[in-house]
């Protein structure tokens, strides 16, 4: 009866009640849309932040670029080439300045070379057409003459092309203008390069196609390219040897042993068995991954845990997987031999399977390097490089990626190449959206021989779009929330405070406080519940179109990812479940708000004795 009368009295003011219903419906719908948008946004922001990284590359600008000359005995003239001249190599520590906040600190990072058994033959098979063979041999000079070009008789092949044995060939060092002299009849040890494995040596020599006086076989000096971790070129300082006379006990001497080591190192096999192993803190620090040109196609990327723990896991390329018939889950052995500090692997290992290396096999003591780390790595993923390129931004065709911390051995005695900081070796990561800040602070350092370039994958453009959307969700949420509150307060005022006399009458008629409360609120709640439900339905109907509108306005006006890999797909859909939860939560909040607020109103009036409610009559 009380409820009936409560309803009855509400419908005696139908316009007000209808207005209440509609306003509650609309404001609830706005509030729920705000909630949905807010949730949607928060989710996307998280996804968004996770999917972007801001990488900076560091490159030392050369002091000058000089034209150098290189003598060529064959042509009897100089060849010219340009060389970048760097005075002192700037240390990465200059980037440790006030205002720089790194997620990944800038430092020169090496890549390693592992000798992978069987790789040479697989590559040779694949490439076909032969490869150049390095030969260490003892020769007897047939004449006394500077070695720009000299005929010698091969008396012993220590390694390499054994078919050269007993042939008379021309050898020479074409790049030195005034080379040393060999004496007729004496035995020398030399290293020769430039012969192809596919050639029939005897025939070639007989026909004079190879190694004529005017085109001698290239003599190669042995030496060391070792650097210390402090960039000291101790290998170069140890000198280089082009040839040496073999006398009794020669192989007991230091140099004799060095030649033996060089021979045993078997440069031919080594050069083709080299597998680049890149230790990283995140694949995102590799520009190819960062620009989405490379992506894991099978298995998984190395995960955070594995990076943190330095797990022995690796990513390999599709090319390597095919070549060696490897799959995710397989294990490969990676004995690490050399540390390369000059370039990225892609700058040494070329796409076609060849490569160029500015390194020697021996260390500064003219001894072979020792493996510094040897672990079994589990393949967790296979990545695909969409467009192969040799630049510092590319990946070598067989590049193996491992967690930086998985390499625990000390490679400071295995550094075979080194150079100033460059894009291939020196990257850092800063928090998204802080590039301007960084650049400003960096400028203040006044260091101008470093080129710093940022790559944020379109973050800044994207960020603006997402900021707009975030703003919108706040406006809706706040606007809807405040509108709902105001409307609830308004109706509480109209229906309760302005009708406080009704409470007095009811109390005077002997209605208990509880019944009064019911009389005042029950009808109101029914109308509000109806309004809230209508608001819920309204928001349900509006969500998709609102989101589509917001989306089309903000999301796709940015050209995210110009790379060939797919852009990250931001799910524009909100699942039915999430919608349901948001709507439910929104409705519950509004109803709870109404309940608390209106109970408050009624209780304040009901407090105390009914006498206090009596209107003063004049």
């Amino acid at each position: 009866m009380i409820f009936r009368n409560s309803m009855k009295q509400l419908f005696r003011t139908p316009i007000r009640t209808l207005a209440m219903f509609l306003l509650i419906a609309v404001s609830t719908a706005l509030f729920i849309l705000g909630l949905l948008l807010f949730w949607w946004n928060q989710r996307d922001i998280v996804e968004f932040e996770d999917s972007f990284t801001t990488i900076g590359t560091v490159e030392q600008i050369p002091d000058s670029v000089e034209v150098k000359e290189l003598w060529n005995n064959n042509k009897d003239r100089y060849a010219y080439y340009t060389q970048k001249i760097y005075g002192e190599w700037t240390k990465a520590s200059v980037l440790d300045f006030e205002g720089a906040d790194y997620l990944l600190p800038p430092k020169k990072r090496p890549y390693f070379i592992s000798l992978y058994p069987g790789l040479d033959e697989k590559v040779w098979n694949k490439v076909g057409g032969g490869h150049s063979v390095y030969t260490v041999a003892e020769v007897v000079a047939n004449e006394t003459k500077p070695v720009d070009s000299i005929q010698v008789h091969v008396t012993k092949v220590l390694s390499g092309q054994s078919e050269l044995l007993n042939y008379d060939i021309y050898i020479g060092d074409i790049y030195h203008k005034d080379p040393d002299t060999m004496e007729a009849g004496k035995t020398y040890i030399v290293e020769l390069g430039g012969i192809s494995s596919s050639q029939d040596v005897g025939e070639a020599i007989a026909n004079g196609l190879l190694y004529s006086e005017t085109d001698p076989m290239q003599m190669m000096s042995i030496g060391s390219s070792q650097y210390t971790i402090e960039d000291e070129p101790i290998g170069k300082e140890a000198g280089e040897i082009l040839f040496e006379e073999v006398t009794d006990g020669f192989y007991e001497t230091k140099h004799g042993k060095a030649w033996m080591y060089e021979s045993e190192s078997d440069m031919t096999k080594t050069m083709w068995s080299m597998l680049p192993v890149r230790p990283v803190e995140s694949t995102n620090q590799l520009m190819a991954f960062h620009t989405k040109k490379a992506a894991v196609k099978a298995g998984n990327d190395i995960n955070e845990e594995e990076y943190k723990n330095g797990s022995d896991v690796c990513l390999i390329s599709t090319q390597f997987a095919e070549l060696m018939e490897l799959n995710v889950g397989d294990t490969i052995s990676l004995p690490l031999l050399y540390a390369m500090y000059q370039t990225a692997p892609s700058q040494n290992f070329s796409v076609d399977g060849g490569g160029s290396f500015n390194m020697e096999m021996l260390n500064a003591n003219f001894e072979p390097y020792q493996v510094f780390d040897n672990d079994e790595y589990k393949i967790v993923g296979i990545y695909e490089m969409k467009a192969l390129e040799d630049s510092a931004f590319g990946l070598a065709p067989y590049e193996v990626i491992v967690p930086y911390r998985s390499v625990t051995g000390d490679w400071s005695n295995n550094i075979v190449t080194d150079g100033p900081m460059s894009i291939g070796t020196t990257v850092f990561q800063i928090p998204n959206g802080t590039t301007l800040q960084f650049e400003k602070a960096w400028k203040e350092q006044g260091i101008d021989n470093l080129n710093i370039t940022f790559y944020d994958g379109g973050y800044s453009a994207f960020q603006n779009a997402i900021k707009d959307r975030e703003m919108m969700s706040y406006i809706l949420l706040l606007g809807g929330g405040i509108a709902t509150l105001v409307i609830l307060a308004l109706f509480g005022h109209l229906q309760i405070v302005r009708q406080r006399n009704r409470i007095f009458i009811e109390r005077a008629l002997g209605m208990s406080k509880k019944k009064c409360r019911k009389s005042m609120l029950s009808g109101m709640y029914l109308v509000m519940a109806g309004g809230v439900a209508a608001g819920g339905i309204l928001s349900f109907l509006m969500t998709d179109s609102v989101i589509k509108k917001v989306e089309s306005k903000s999301m796709y006006d940015t050209t995210f990812s110009s790379g060939t890999a797919e852009a990250i797909a931001f799910t524009s859909q909100i699942s039915g479940e999430v919608k349901g939860v948001c709507i439910l939560v929104g409705c519950v909040i509004v109803i709870a708000g109404a309940f608390v607020m209106h109970h408050q109103y009624v209780n304040r009036i009901l407090k105390g004795e009914p006498m206090e409610l009596m209107e003063k009559e004049e």
């Binding site: 009855k8 005696r12 009458i505 002997g510 208990s512 009914p610 009596m614 009559e617």
Partner: protein, 244 residues
């Protein structure tokens, strides 16, 4: 009824002595409105007894405490001192909501009808509240409305479309509907012209004489007060009997 008469003064202080059935008995009641800043004493040591089936009138200056007394009688608050008995039951121990619902009805100068309910619904309200079936409540309400001299046509009217006299008659019908036999009327004719005033007083008298109601009427009108069985005057927080 025995009154203690002392001296020649025409005003006598009423006594608490009881003879026969007293409907409402007030004993040494003091009341003060309190708020955080001050305490305003209104009733000081009031003692009075209202007997069954009698018509009482209370006069007094504005602000003297007449309405306050009626409110206390209706159990709208409890006095700070003293005790009120209704049908010889201590008010403090009663369910005062139930008391108003079933035994004591109040009518006011400003009628206090539910503005959004019709005349009929207003009268039905207390009966329905008492658990009466709607159809029965309706029949009874129609009867009460006729009793106070209202035509059937008024049943569907809302208070704001009725005259003051009509509204007050609806209020009386509603008071009757509660089913008690005590009616407290706080200046019920204060807003009415003399014709309507006479009408209302006639109805109240009829309630006393025909239905056995005890009516306590607060009024400013001395002529009307003179129509009562017993007259009291409120002065300085005391209730004094006025000689007939």
């Amino acid at each position: 009824m025995i009154h203690d008469r002392k001296g020649a003064a025409s005003m006598r202080k009423s006594c608490c002595k009881v003879n026969g059935m007293s409907k409402i008995r007030v004993e040494n009641v003091s009341y003060a409105y309190r708020n955080s800043y001050r305490e305003a004493p209104v009733l000081r040591d009031v003692s009075v007894s209202f007997e069954e089936g009698k018509f009482y009138a209370v006069t007094g200056e504005s602000g003297s405490g007449k309405s306050t007394l009626l409110s206390l009688l209706a159990g709208l608050d409890l006095p700070q001192e003293g005790e009120i008995y209704v049908n010889e039951k201590e008010m403090k121990k009663l369910d005062r909501d139930r008391l108003r619902q079933k035994e004591v009805a109040v009518i006011y100068q400003s009628f206090q009808l539910f503005p959004l309910l019709t005349a009929l619904e207003n009268v039905m309200y207390p009966m329905e509240l008492n658990g009466m079936k709607k159809s029965e409540a309706r029949k009874k309400a129609e009867k009460y409305l006729r009793k106070v001299g209202l035509a059937d046509s008024i049943e569907k009217h809302f208070p704001k479309t009725m005259s003051g006299g009509e509204q007050q008659r609806v209020a009386i019908a509603r008071a009757m509907a509660a089913g008690g036999d005590i009616l407290l009327a706080d200046e019920p004719t204060g807003n009415l012209d003399s014709e309507n005033e006479d009408n209302i007083i006639r109805i109240l008298r009829a309630l006393v004489e025909q239905e056995g109601y005890t009516v306590i009427l607060v009024t400013h009108n001395q002529q009307i007060a003179a129509l009562a069985d017993v007259q009291y005057q409120m002065r300085d927080g005391k209730l004094l009997e006025k000689e007939a």
